[in-house]
């Protein structure tokens, strides 16, 4: 099965290990992974801030980039969901809307792809730690991927999962919200970090670069001994850590 990786800008620049793990994981389940070089950012920062006309350049580039892909897989729920928004972005431009629809239909978030398309519930992974999982809002509520990551994590050997209190409440990232309304964002991320500490776990797992950057950034600022990891890194682990 041929899979085109949509790495996302955060994944390309900051969270390179998560990207590597994604590739290796997909290959392990028989996928042939390619990386279309012309991919950029999905346009979410501009779109969610209200700059819809300025989002179109990014969207068109992405539509072109993945035009010939069979499947598009991204290790980030909100970025994968952004591809789903293109259709309404091109309202009134039927040609682009049609292309946007095609892109949407073949785009998956990583854990969604593993469970829905590859029908994998157990990645045969091994990772020894006590951890908790943050459900990202866009991935859970908008993309509708709720169970897949938890199911996959529950089958990782050596991993003890503790449920995060108020699991579904937002971490306060919200893209440009985090810098436009920093004082509110701070309170939200602090509440999230408090809940993570309540679980007394050593690893926080997530499936969205934005949330991980936000929560991780706050955890580091406060010097908390909690490691922040992308779910791909856990699922790709064979017990070596």
């Amino acid at each position: 099965m041929k899979v085109s990786l949509f790495i996302t800008c955060l994944g390309d620049v900051f969270y390179v290990n998560a990207g590597k793990a994604t590739v290796e994981l997909l290959e392990r389940f028989g996928c042939e992974v390619d990386f279309p070089e012309t991919q950029t950012c999905c346009g979410q920062p501009a779109y969610n801030s209200g700059y819809h006309k300025k989002t179109k350049a990014a969207a068109k580039n992405m539509i072109h980039t993945f035009a010939h892909s069979e499947y598009v897989v991204s290790p980030s729920g909100s970025c994968a969901y952004m591809f789903h928004e293109y259709e309404s972005l091109f309202e009134g431009e039927p040609v682009w809307q049609e292309k946007a629809k095609k892109l949407k239909e073949k785009t998956y978030e990583l854990t969604q792809f593993l469970t829905e398309v590859l029908k994998v519930d157990n990645t045969g992974s091994e990772f020894h730690a006590k951890a908790t999982y943050h459900t990202s809002c866009h991935m859970t509520r908008l993309l509708g991927v709720k169970e897949a990551p938890l199911k996959l994590l529950s089958n990782v050997k050596g991993l003890e999962m503790v449920e995060l209190p108020n699991r579904e409440s937002c971490c306060g990232f919200g893209g440009t919200f985090s810098v436009k309304m920093p004082t509110i964002s701070e309170q939200m991320v602090d509440e999230k970090v408090e809940h993570i500490e309540e679980t007394e776990t050593e690893v926080l797992i997530g499936a969205d670069g934005g949330c991980l950057m936000n929560i991780g950034g706050r955890i580091n600022r406060k010097n908390k001994p909690i490691k922040v990891m992308h779910i791909a890194e856990i699922l790709n682990s064979r017990g070596e850590v």
Binding site: V13, K20, V23, T40, H52, H138, R141, E168, S185
Partner: protein, 481 residues
């Protein structure tokens, strides 16, 4: 700007909210309780999603045929001997009510809870006219005696106060001597209020739903006070937003089921009061004279636009009860009597972008509101539409942001420029990196690093790794291993 509350500047209001530990404690515990109750009540009903779809359909149908149902309602009221007044603006509504009261020479007015009268600031006008207005909803009453503290929530207006604070208000203003136990506080207030009901010349009620078919009104309350307001005084005035209408009792049933469960997680709030026009001969209860004031105040401009769904709202406050931003800043920070997600959608529609352009941005777009709304209003999408209007139609975003987005658009639209930019990124931030992290970022990164560490861009980007690996792979293949 009648619906406006508090400081003019959004940031000042937010700071005030964030600094108010009492308020935040009160909101936090109320939200926790209401969220759990709502979820349980929704589960109990079974097929919650189907109910929501039904609710959405009913609201949509009603809005699309609003002129018909409003006509039907007014005809019915006239038939029953009541008076109907259609108020285009807040002033029109206030003037009409003032006139009715003046004609009756009335001095004492009892009111049941009503958001639309808050929206048009009716109390202020009546008090200016020399009337004594008594709010009979417990929450509203507390706020009223606390020097007209504005409401911070559309169902529980005094949600920002804890019971100790309420005790203190009663103590200071009314000579209350007992404890902060809710039962004692309520009993005390009830006794005070009972007297007021009996003395009131005019009763003013809001309206959760008007039933077009029969000319009746449904008032949903926790306390049953609406019943007293609507039956004891001789003259009754009901003020309704023009969208608060259902075709028949059947639709009412669905919407009340959704409302009470979504609002407080009760199968039925303690009282659903139905009233129908003035009393007719032979009836014991009911007013002698009945006036219905239907308020437009900007609503008809929303009809038929992409924001029409905002009019579908049944004011249950479920979106407010789950909102994490509301949780931290409280209701007053929104600067509007309509706070939370629905407030951030509705307030700019009714009050304009000039005064409320920050509200649509006071959200992470987490979608918790959309998920709970019992009539499926896509609240977070409406917020994005507002943002688009503010940026593209009103051009109200600031210059630095516009330039940044212009740059973003150019770079993200081109694979090559983007590649160049991501390659430059590690070099550009080098001066700011300390111990593998960025603690004090430049320019636009500063608000981020005021709170959090910023990650360091990797020298080997993912794409470089992938390319090397591919190369390595093909060379390996050439070498035959």
């Amino acid at each position: 700007m009648p619906m406006h509350i508090g400081e003019k500047e959004f940031t000042k209001r937010v700071d005030k909210g964030l600094e108010d530990d009492f308020m935040r404690g009160a909101v936090r515990s109320a939200q926790g309780r209401l969220q759990t109750n709502r979820a349980n009540a929704a589960d109990e009903l079974g097929d919650w999603e189907e109910w929501r779809s039904l609710g959405q359909e009913i609201r949509q149908h009603t809005m699309e045929n609003l002129d018909f149902y409003l006509q039907q309602l007014s005809d019915k009221i006239a038939e029953l001997g009541g008076h109907v007044y259609f108020a285009e603006t807040a002033d029109d509504a206030n003037n009409y009510v003032s006139e009715v009261i003046a004609n009756k020479n009335a001095k004492k007015i009892a009111k049941s809870k009503s958001m639309v009268t808050e929206e048009i600031a009716l109390n202020d006008i009546l008090e200016e006219n020399g009337c004594e207005v008594v709010e009979t909803d417990l929450g509203e009453y507390i706020l009223q005696i606390d020097d007209h503290d504005p409401p911070s929530h559309i169902v529980a207006p005094a949600l920002h106060k804890n019971k100790e604070q309420i005790r203190d208000v009663f103590k200071e203003k009314l000579g209350y001597t007992k404890t902060e136990k809710p039962e004692e506080l309520t009993l005390f207030a009830r006794e005070k209020l009972r007297k007021e009901f009996l003395e009131a010349d005019v009763g003013i009620t809001g309206c959760n739903f008007a039933i077009a078919e029969s000319g009746s009104f449904a008032l949903v309350t926790n306390e049953g006070n609406a019943r007293m307001v609507s039956t004891l005084p001789k003259t009754q005035i009901t003020v309704m937003g023009m969208e608060r209408i259902v075709p028949t009792w059947e639709e009412l049933d669905v919407l009340v089921s959704l409302l009470t469960r979504a609002a407080v997680g009760q199968k039925l709030t303690s009282y659903v009061t139905a009233l129908t026009g003035p009393k007719i001969e032979g009836e014991v209860d009911g007013p002698e004279e009945f006036h219905l004031v239907i308020v437009d105040n900007g609503r008809s401009k929303i009809l038929g636009t992409e924001f029409q769904e905002a009019l579908h709202c049944i004011r249950c406050a479920a979106c407010i009860n789950v909102c994490p931003v509301y949780r931290h800043v409280g209701g007053h920070a929104y600067g509007s009597i309509y706070p939370g997600p629905i407030g951030a959608v509705l307030t700019p529609l009714l009050g304009g972008y000039d005064d409320y352009k920050e509200l649509p941005y006071a959200s992470t777009l987490c979608g918790a509101c959309t998920e709970v709304c019992p009539v499926k209003i896509p609240l977070h999408e409406q917020l994005v539409k507002h943002r688009r209007n503010i940026v593209e139609e009103e051009e109200k975003s600031d210059l630095a942001e516009r330039l940044a987005m212009q740059g973003f658009s150019i770079v993200a639209g081109s694979g090559n420029l983007y590649k160049l930019a991501t390659r430059m990124a590690p070099l550009l931030v080098t001066p700011f990196v300390k111990d593998g992290s960025i603690s004090k970022g430049p320019g636009p990164v500063k608000p981020w690093t005021d709170i959090r560490e910023f990650p360091v861009p990797q020298k080997q980007r993912f794409r470089d790794w992938f390319k090397n690996r591919e190369k390595g792979g093909s060379e390996r293949a050439k070498r035959g291993n």
